[in-house]
């Protein structure tokens, strides 16, 4: 365990996700009066100390916030559901980055259903093994999870799996890959999260920021 950087109670460090939530997060920071010019222009730099921002992939945000390296963070509900053991406060639904976690399978004849019926199990590819496993367990079906890191849509097309569990916003990627949505597991959107110790020791600063975000949206 390492000590978190020392800073005064009025200063916050925010973990900002690069990727799908990045642009709208920048918009939110603008609305809060943060100067995002350098953040927008330099996509290789990770630490922007003078404005209290660190950038990272969305799935790393809960890690940095849980350990207190960042006081606050912005990430998707999907990420929080996939990492339920993280001890962080979920303070606000920021409303942007809306999407849905779905089960999808090749369009046409329902191979997923047939595997479940005839083989008693199905193979599901996903980047979200825990959400997927929970969903099928809760609905009383046995599956095997195949964890992949990217382009999940490929897996059922060439026979690696029967179906996938993935996020979709518009459903366009699914359609372009001849996949059809079968079930919706949950909805997701961007959330503001906080480190529990920061939430106590920097209470006023954090409450003030939360109020300003509520006011801005």
């Amino acid at each position: 365990m390492t000590a978190v950087p020392d800073q005064d109670a009025a200063r916050l460090t925010i973990a900002v996700p690069r990727g799908a939530l990045f642009q709208e997060t920048l918009g939110l920071l603008d609305a809060l009066g943060v100067d995002t010019a350098e953040l927008r222009s330099n996509d290789r730099k990770l630490l922007f100390e003078d404005i209290g921002v660190v950038t990272m992939r969305p799935s790393d945000v809960p890690t940095y916030v849980e350990h207190g390296s960042a006081d606050l963070g912005i990430t998707g509900k999907d990420v929080l559901l996939e990492q339920p053991e993280r001890e962080v406060y979920e303070l606000l639904d920021l409303g942007f980055g809306r999407c849905r976690m779905v089960v999808a399978a090749p369009a046409g004849a329902d191979g997923l259903d047939e595997s479940l019926r005839r083989l008693g199990t199905a193979r599901i590819a996903t980047k979200y093994p825990r959400i997927a496993m929970n969903w099928f367990m809760e609905t009383g079906r046995q599956i095997e999870i195949v964890e992949v890191k990217g382009s999940v849509e490929l897996a059922p097309l060439i026979g690696l799996v029967d179906g996938i569990v993935d996020l979709t916003a518009t459903g366009k990627t699914l359609v372009e890959n001849d996949l059809a949505e079968r079930e919706q597991i949950c909805e997701s959107s961007a959330r503001l999260i906080a480190n529990p110790v920061s939430h106590k020791l920097k209470a006023d600063t954090i409450d003030d920021l939360v109020e300003r975000i509520r006011g801005a949206s």
Partner: protein, 322 residues
Amino acid sequence: MIHPIPPGTRDVLPDEMRELRAISEALRSTFEQHGYGEVWTPTLEYEEVLRTGDESAAGSSYRLFDEGGALLALRSDMTIPIARLIASRYADTRPPIRLCYVAHAYRAVVRGSGQPREFLQAGIELVGAPPPDGDVEVVAVALAALEQAGLRRYRLGIGDGSLYRALLESFEVPAAERLPLLEALARRDLVGLEVRLQRLGLAPDAERLLARLATLRGGPEVLDQVDGPLSGAVENLRRCYELLAERGLADRVIIDLGLVRDLGYYTGAVFEVYDPAVGFALGGGGRYDDLLGRFGRSLPACGIAFDLQRVHVAQTEEERLG
């Protein structure tokens, strides 16, 4: 040649050991000065006995069979073993009973989370002292111990583990809805909590208080947020705060109405200790008035424990800052 040890465990070598020993000695001697005698209890207990204290055996994660086939478990905290000890070894002793310990406990960890599965705790248990005086004594001893260990910037959050339950009852929230709300609060999922509360169709004032409670933390003014007929629910916190203020400890204390500790046995005051150098609580505890009764000696009790490694991180940072 490198031989592995299980993830989440570690070897401690002399340089670190000297510092850890100095901290544990500072804590232990403070406890001892306040009348808390040190005890050891076995690392391994009968699983069934731990389960007497808490259905989940206090989250015990490591179980094994002994040579006779009996089911043993590694303790996951010291509070339950000490409750057993009080009932069996102090059955006739007049309360209050004051005990302290420096001991390892064991919990399962999620791979890659960087959390230890074997951790060293230093703590106290005060048995037979009702609230608010018992709560205040435990807090005061804990603060004195941190001071002795060289910490300067720590704060202690104090809440009431039964408050939210009591409020749900007084607002007549249907019994079936209460557990999901308490779980959301314990998970710190304030978004989920608000969504669930909105579905209940409570009076606007009630809904607002229940949604805001988790973020009501600060000085004594937060107690005024729970007013009118409900103010009895925070009466013990109010008294604790007054008594701590009399001892000159008010500026060390954060009143935190949203504080819930996830262990199942807390019945009143709950504590958590914070330091700006560490992203996790340095320690915590609370009041568990029902626990000893389960072991056959019904007495009110209260305790607190620190994670030595986290106190060590805070203390080295304190030294660095000079």
